[in-house]
Amino acid sequence: MTDLTKLTIAEAREGLKNKDYTSSELTEAFLTNIEAANPSLNAYVAVTADKAREMAKASDEKLAKGEGGALEGIPLGIKDLFATKGVHTQACSHILDGFKPVYESTVTSNLWADGAVMLGKLNMDEFAMGSSNETSYYGNVVNPWRKEGSNAALVPGGSSGGSAAAVAARLCMGATATDTGGSIRQPAALTGTVGIKPTYGRCSRWGIVAFASSLDQAGPIAHTVRDSAILLKSMASVDAKDTTSVEIDVPDYEASIGKSVKALKIGIPKEYRVDGMPAEIEELWQKGIQWLKDAGAEIVDISLPHTKYALPAYYIVAPAEASSNLARYDGVRYGLRVPGKDIVEMYENTRAEGFGAEVQRRILIGTYVLSAGYYDAYYLKAQKVRTLIKRDFDLAWENGVDAILTPTTPDAAFAPGEITDPVTMYLNDIFTVTVNMAGLPGISIPAGLNKSGLPLGLQLIGKPFDEATLFQVGSVIEEAAGSFEAETWWK
């Protein structure tokens, strides 16, 4: 029998419909893989095997009758940031110890309504703050990819490191993830998977643990462009429970795959280069440009002059919003409580013990930049810079650009412990963070391997609510680049 875990979602959808295999068989195959790999990769923080088997059985009953939703019987992993009723939901933080929500996030509700099967909750950087999955209370996630001829562990990127690693190692068919500054696209690039952050407002944020509310968006990580289109179609919805959810119909994203890119104008922004960027990133970028040219797209040089200010502005806006959002963790309503002599000391002890170093750092930065006398100098200025960043993109769209091609990250996966300086770590998101600041959709597509055999990604940035073009252009890159599979050294 073929290895069911090697299937794409699109293939499994057909196979299930044709009754070549059942969702129970598919689910069992993934549970077996998880059992074998998780001790080495630490991608899952909770495996919901019983629930998965129940959901698969229910799907099989529907499939047997020729019924079922768009994702009927497809086993998925869920980032620990999504509230899942009665199941581990702790944002991989100590401060949410034992938290089991009594409600379900809108995004996961949509997935279950379409028939998907939940395998478990995926590891991540604590409160989605990190670019290497080293800040999780549950320990590092290990990248399924290693340098050729090396046994040394590498990080999977972050914050959706568990999601990316689980997909790359075939521990789920696809995964939910979230992206505030690059947390879907950077780990996708570092693990050879496809990750899309849709336009701000496309997916409901209701029931997702909040980090920086004006930047957070949910999206999928999957093996192929088509699979990510299938998942996003189910995840996205208009939701009255999220006031920033935008009332625009979700199109059939799959329909745009395979469409010609002739007559599309692809912008190449000269500012997406940093000092010390390896030559192979530039070469990969040029390769991507050539692929799109060969497919008939028009390539134009563009300028996004405020690019370099996106990351510093982000490190004011995101911590400011985080400091407000994380004020709710006080040891009263949920999670950890560390006693003190009075209520204030109880708050202080709880938050000191419950939050990790990176989270504390960001809360303090956020509290400082919002404090009396500093608001104008930091937060207000950053929000003005943000207007300029968005204006750069608006000008490109006004000039007829349909999508923008850039590298996803300035380099391939690195070793745990290799980057200890916070600011150096932040630079991982230099090419992705602009997209969040402007609220645009962005997709990362695996485009090649570096000389050590590690995956690298290319990013496409689209117009607001035009994810369809990203899938259309992305599938051209995917076709030209081929797909990349990590060796299963953990088996």
């Binding site: 938290f99 009255a240 935008v246 510093p312 938050r351 003005k384």
Partner: protein
Amino acid sequence: MSVDTQTVKKVARLARIKVSDADAERMTGELNAILGFVEQLDEVNIDGVEPMTSVVEQTMKKRQDGVTDGGYAADITANAPASEDNFFMVPKVVE
């Protein structure tokens, strides 16, 4: 702009995070590195630029001012570290 250890302690107090003297010392260096990094923004001319309030241009959605949800106090307190009769229990606040 940079912060000293006293400021870090004050901010930590505002954020309700207990920090030891050693922690405050370490955090001062880290926060100053980040504040140094964001100083780049001083190069940008922001004269006459409106601050961003929303990435998507849309009128704030309004909902009917009515009760649409509720009536499950036991669920609300289900995850509390300490609760009694559907109330959250905290150390004594008022003497």
